[in-house]
Amino acid sequence: MRTPDSIITPAPPRGAKRLQFAPLALCAPLLLLLLVLLVWPLAHLLQQSLLLSDAPASGLTLHNFREIVLVPRYRDALLWSLELSLAVAAGSTLICLAPAWLFTRYSFPGKRLMRGILTLPMTFAGMIVGFLVVILLGRAGFIPQLLERLTGQPLLSGAGYRFPGLILAYLYFEIPRATLTLESALAKLDVRLEQAARSLGANRRQVFFWVVLPVIRPALVSTFAVTFSVSLGSFGVLLVLSLRHFSLLPLEIFTQYIAPPTDQGLAAAMSLALLGVAFGAGYGLRRVARRMEGTHA
């Protein structure tokens, strides 16, 4: 088997082999920033998560982490978070492929405006998206009222307060992110590959499935990774929609921090668990994407 790494990694320029002082010194501000913004808070979280909130003097324990797995409420919140984020990441990646393709390959009147409108939701806070879902799909939302006028039946009334409504809200603010990520990846796609395939007699569908898709697969994977980790961490929508008998891990963290009786240790353990999943998924998927790039270089 050939080693893909040797193909895609460019040979290091001459003189770059030995680490020199100047480049390291230039990186110092970033390293300092990372230390302040990442390492310190993480260390603090880790310390909190290993102590019992009620009895911090009793020493280090994994109790808080065990709680996440053993208490059904927290375990379900973690699983729901995973399910929702997976569904939203897959959905937004698929939905956005067409518009991203359109934006990179074609120029048409109103393209900029359309792109602007499509990317607008990215600037909305989660809670605002929640309010929009209520206006659209709430109990007396625009769509249920319209449907009731048309059919006489109260269809979809209150759908916003159920799981599909939540997925819709998440899709709404992930779509701009997915479009932009995909668009920049598609822009790098070499048109000559498709032209070659076409001139060799492949039809459009064959070109898409056998030429385009394998080449853009890494872009799809990294878009999936980005939308997955962003969905995993957001809960403003849920704060407004307040689905019954349902929770997401970030909302549980919020509750543990601000709604007494609070438990900072548990909240810290949950934060680290969420961070672990997000980092693991992001890192793993990016590795997959790189390997794919390697096999198609």
Partner: protein, 337 residues
């Protein structure tokens, strides 16, 4: 409309920044929700009178207490407003300092701490607020028992008791209203039976959603419903349930180590003046210090007889059980198993 709230918030933020640049005085009150007990109107009147800005704060009672606890070493707030039991709990955690605002002696003894760590500013009652237009011909529920009927499926909202003091007062008090015992079983059984009719356990203030009819039935404080009906002219009816209700003192306290201590004291003094108390009465919360209401305003309150069966639960008792009640609610009601 929720949008109006966003506008209000944006405007408040703007006035806050403007006031800061002009070095105006500010008093920070945790739990200062413009659409609850007309805090928007009350703080605006104070600003007009004195120039002191009291910006809105959307935290409910419990998150306010949690914030004060977290900021114990460097307090950001000057005073806080809570539904009674949570305020009592915050005071017993040592988050308040003793202060007896002017007019203190006029507050009934049961509605204040003798040391001044909390006192009542006005009183509300848990009521069923009904947007009759949104019911679309269904009968208006007259009692807590009515709310269990299947016709109200997906139409009822009460606030998440972990976040909102009013929601907590309802969850903690319904047991006494229904004549339950110390184990609160009657109350939790009722909440379990009510669950299928619940649209959501709101974590955010739902006043605007009641006005719009998005929420047809909201279990909340009577005063908010009376304001919706009489001031905002919504098709809202305030039902004092046939079984009785819970009296809810709404209390305040001066935060220990308040950054604007002197300004906060003046503000807390003012809240007990006839002028402020009348403003609160005009937004349909019972003033703690008797003020003379004109007959037309008095007529808009439900008759005294409606409150004959109102239960007064000692705040200390509710506060002592608060954590346990919230956890039990989370497990048995919100958890759904």
């Amino acid at each position: 409309m929720k949008l109006s709230r966003i506008v209000v918030l944006a405007a408040a933020f703007l006035t806050m920044t403007v006031s800061l640049t002009f070095a105006e005085q500010t008093v920070i009150q945790y739990d200062c929700i413009p659409n609850y007990a007309n805090w928007g109107g009350v703080t605006k009147a104070y600003q007009k009178k004195t120039g002191v800005v009291v910006p809105p704060d959307m935290k409910g009672s419990s998150p306010s207490m949690a914030a004060l606890e977290a900021e114990r070493k460097s307090p950001k707030a000057d005073c806080a407003y809570y539904s009674g039991a949570i305020g009592f709990q915050a005071a017993s955690k040592g988050l308040h300092e003793s202060y007896k605002p002017k007019g203190w002696e006029k507050i009934p003894a049961a509605l204040k701490d003798p040391n001044g760590t909390w006192w009542t500013v006005h009183t509300g009652h848990i009521a069923i607020l009904v947007n009759t237009a949104a019911l679309k011909g269904k009968p208006v529920p007259r009692s807590f028992a009515d709310l269990l009927k299947p016709i109200y499926q997906g139409l009822v909202v009460y606030d998440d008791p972990r976040f909102n003091g009013t929601g907590f007062t309802f969850v903690a008090g319904i047991n006494a209203v229904l004549g339950g015992g110390k184990d609160l079983k009657a109350g939790f059984d009722y909440l379990k039976k009510l669950d299928p009719n619940i649209l959501k356990y709101a974590k955010e203030n739902s006043y605007n959603e009641l006005l719009r009819g998005e929420i047809p039935i909201w279990i909340n404080a009577d005063g908010n419903g009376l304001k919706a009906k009489n001031v905002d002219k919504a098709t809202v009816e305030v039902v004092i349930p046939a079984e009785g209700t819970v009296t809810m003192p709404l209390v305040m306290g001066l935060v220990k180590g308040a950054p604007h201590r002197e300004a906060a004291k003046k503000y807390l003094d003012w809240l007990l003046t006839g002028e402020a108390q009348l403003l609160m009465a005009e937004s349909f919360f019972q003033p703690v210090i008797p003020v003379r209401l004109d007959a037309s305003l008095q007529a808009k309150f439900p008759p005294k007889s409606a409150y004959a069966k109102a239960k007064v639960i000692p705040l200390g008792q509710m506060a002592a059980q608060a954590d346990q009640i919230k956890k039990r609610w989370e497990k048995e009601i919100e958890g759904g198993r």
